[in-house]
Symmetry: C2
Subunit: 367 residues, 2 copies
Amino acid sequence: MGWLKATYIVECAAREIEQRAAQIASEQSVECPLEAIGEQRILDEIVARVAGIEDSGRGRYRVDVEISIQTIGTNPAQFVNMVFGNASLWGDVMFAGLEVPDSVLAIFPGPRHGIAGIRDLLGAPSRPLTNAAMKPQGLHVPELAALCRTFALAGVDIIKDDHGIDDQAYSPFAERVRACQAAIAEAHRASGKRALYAPNLIGTPSVLRERARIAREEGVRAVLVAPMLVGLPAFFELVEEFPDFVYLAHPSFGGARSIAPEFLFGRLLRLFGSDAIIFVNVGGRFGYTHDICAALAEGARRPWGAVKPALPVPAGGMKMERIEELLDFYGADTMLLIGGNLLVERERVLERTREFVERVMAWSPAR
Amino acid sequence: MGWLKATYIVECAAREIEQRAAQIASEQSVECPLEAIGEQRILDEIVARVAGIEDSGRGRYRVDVEISIQTIGTNPAQFVNMVFGNASLWGDVMFAGLEVPDSVLAIFPGPRHGIAGIRDLLGAPSRPLTNAAMKPQGLHVPELAALCRTFALAGVDIIKDDHGIDDQAYSPFAERVRACQAAIAEAHRASGKRALYAPNLIGTPSVLRERARIAREEGVRAVLVAPMLVGLPAFFELVEEFPDFVYLAHPSFGGARSIAPEFLFGRLLRLFGSDAIIFVNVGGRFGYTHDICAALAEGARRPWGAVKPALPVPAGGMKMERIEELLDFYGADTMLLIGGNLLVERERVLERTREFVERVMAWSPAR
């Protein structure tokens, strides 16, 4: 049946690392003392094993652990359980990577659309894409729809609900989706430019399903979901049941301190079916570095068996003045998300958004 | 509509704390610059507000933020989104507590059985309870059932699957549940002592539901679920759909570095319906302190509106020699979980488990 390889970064003293590595292998497989195991088959085929320890300097070690594929089944919840279940509870262990054979990769269809599918839907085969968020929550439906229309007329590619917008009394889901989808269509008739409206799906599994149905009936083609919030297995199943949507993964509740952010957002969320992955970019409101962001984007896009590339969406406090810098850094297979900064001059949202779109359109790698 | 109060621990320089607190309030509500908000109603009723900042010493501050109840809806996913969605992405912010008015508490029925319900099912009105785990994974069903029978004959109260046991080829779910439930029943006929078998439910929402149905049909009354792994909203809905089970919450994937563990395990998992909460105890394989464990247990049990108390289950490498110490520390409203340590003498599992049970039975607070 074979093994997959999981990599962890462990902070500890040199004299402890071998024991710590062995503890991780035990915790992520049989979770009991080896002397309690009476069967040779279990010792040979089930117990995870340390495959390598590498000193990364400054008291950090890179530990590779081989985990038996027999233990992970065919279920995304059990998969995560076996690669980073109990080990997540150690404050000094960070889950940092995975190497899986094709037999395991085949469990996970990954994004149903990916970068090429998003580009097809938008009729934008090669340029960088644009994304805007309708905010603040608290706005009523007509105001949200007006903002949606403004963004679409300005030429934004994907217009999403802010991630705090759910089904509150001030902007009920069904009414909002109908109005915003109509706004998109109206702008399309006026301008000839395609755009996607992505409502936020948030709730228990049955609520997700119910709202996905409403969105589908309204002709919606993209949705926003926070996978860590709704739960990775629920997210996985939603993608499976509604493969026609383009899924934008929101980082909310991603509390990525013990999963390397470049790995959680760049790889895991792609593996579970995110077509586009919103992450908090360097220099915004959060603390990721250039290196983390570069690795995250690279991980989302680089070839990975049959798993489609996912579109990186740097966000989290991005401002107009950074458009060219961001594109120079991420290249064209990127979607820029500018949130509140489009709205700071309240009377000039259309103009400001147009400028955003035009500058993205005008960018070229050869500048 | 009112406000709820969320508390965060922020590590930063003194000169930055006011700005950081304001950032949290923005991030957990409108997530945009205040100057982008045109409506007074939104500024008054929707924007979260800093209610207090307290210096906790050593560069840490306690920040209270009032969050509008209008924003949270009636949905556990959105609830978590609004109290610790984006803020989870800051490495120096820890979500540490909540004060919610009764109107919000009413959204969450909490444990359906709680401590009193578990005691009723077991016919054990006041003594400490016992819990054992069938391990290692890789054992075949007859071996698991034999271990289950052994534990039940030894008098253990709740016998659970190890959390790595799913539906693998070596121990398929339906076959295992039938065999282990039969083993429990057989031991009950032999000894007259009641016990509960708790199979592990793990998977996507539809897999959880399917397995819950199988377990219910087999007469199972308790299940093990890792809420952070299946997703809090999926867990919440499972409890809602299958209220007859006693739910043991497993900490897998709890990666609690940015949610205070005493809060995540002691409060949140209780609020979402865990009847018993397994956590990694001080002095075991994980790094929690005495203070964290004490606060966790206290949080699980103390009165909280109409939310039933949940049973603390200290675990994570507990050994026989610590039984009395653990009971002295946690008192009688506790379930001890000893895992691998029951199995270290492979020929004496029954005897060792009996000793475990007898020592728990013999303990009294007045020793």
